[in-house]
């Protein structure tokens, strides 16, 4: 390579780098980046509650028989929920009569599953009824004091946000 050719190449490289320099300075002057932090937080769900869960409101329970479960569900959350399962909850079934309560005769026949009950955000369902969902047991435990009583049954509700 002759000195003249080398010098020409050096000049071109110098010009290119000079343009790059000017462009970079202009870019630095013209743009402004920014950063910052924040967070997103998911809601903590509140438990569904029931306004009324009772059995035998129509007086259809008798020892050895099954009756209708009625309930109304309240959703305190800010989003709608679909209830899919209803099972026996913690606590005792009560009737308002100590002798009847001690006999402990009424229970759910089986958990109710595969349901699709929509509960609006902050709303209540209509009164739901499930026929043959509760039962009264036979024998000595079926106390006469239970006649004509309305039983309050604790239930556990399972649902999904919808």
């Amino acid at each position: 390579m002759s000195f003249r050719a080398f010098s020409k190449r050096a000049t071109i490289v110098s010009l290119f780098l000079g343009v790059l320099l000017a462009g970079s300075v202009a870019f630095a002057w013209w743009t402004a980046s920014g950063t910052g932090t924040g967070y997103a937080q998911a809601a903590t769900p509140a438990a569904l509650s029931t306004l009324d869960v009772s059995a035998s409101t129509t007086g259809d329970l008798y020892p050895g028989g099954t009756g209708t479960l009625t309930l109304q569900i309240h959703n305190p959350n800010s989003y709608a929920v679909t209830v899919t399962d209803i099972a026996a909850g913690a606590g005792a079934v009560t009737s308002g009569n100590a002798a009847c309560d001690a006999a402990n005769t009424v229970s759910l026949v089986a958990p109710l599953s595969g349901l699709s009950v929509n509960v609006a955000a902050g709303g209540n369902t209509a009164v739901l009824t499930y026929a043959n969902a509760v039962q009264m047991s036979y024998g000595a435990s079926a106390d006469n004091s239970c006649q004509g009583k309305k039983f309050s049954i604790p239930v556990s509700l399972t649902g999904l946000n919808s």
């Binding site: 050096a10 490289v13 970079s24 743009t31 920014g34 950063t35 946000n161």
Partner: protein
């Protein structure tokens, strides 16, 4: 003969060094302290958070862009990088949360703050461990001087 040869060699090297410095300056890479530290504190600042998210639902929330510079800027893009979250129910992957990148033009006058709305959505099938979780978010904005 010897003198122009040296000039031809030194000139591109000098130009190269200057160009590299300018690129580093523009990109804020590999430089710490001094002028760069002062410049870094003068960049746009973005703050914003959102809460009460629940699976399957999207929300719009505001982030605030603070311009500490003496000139107005036009923000063209705000991107949110979500980190892994955690809460009372356990850890929750960042992939469960989607924050859409904002693109547009929002003028932020000198030494002032303007809001930009971002859309966020918690995945419908987010696991139970995501309930009550908090995800740190890092915002990155692009803007030009106006």
């Amino acid at each position: 003969m010897h003198r122009p040869f040296r000039a031809s060699v030194i000139a591109p090297i000098l130009a190269g060094v200057l160009a590299a410095s300018a690129i580093a300056f523009a990109g804020n890479i590999g430089v710490h302290g001094g002028v760069m530290a002062e410049k870094a504190t003068r960049h746009l600042r973005i703050r914003g958070h959102v809460d009460h998210l629940f699976p399957g639902h999207g929300r719009t929330y505001r982030v605030f862009v603070r311009n500490p510079l003496d000139v107005a800027v036009e923000v063209h893009k705000v991107r949110a990088v979500v980190r892994r979250g955690g809460g009372p129910a356990g850890r929750c992957a960042a992939s469960n949360l989607r924050v859409r990148t904002w693109r547009g033009v929002r003028r932020v006058p000198a030494r002032s703050v303007r809001p930009i709305r971002l859309k966020v959505r918690l995945r419908r099938r987010a696991p139970t461990s995501c309930w009550g979780a908090r995800w740190p978010i890092h915002y990155v904005a692009r803007s030009v001087h106006r």
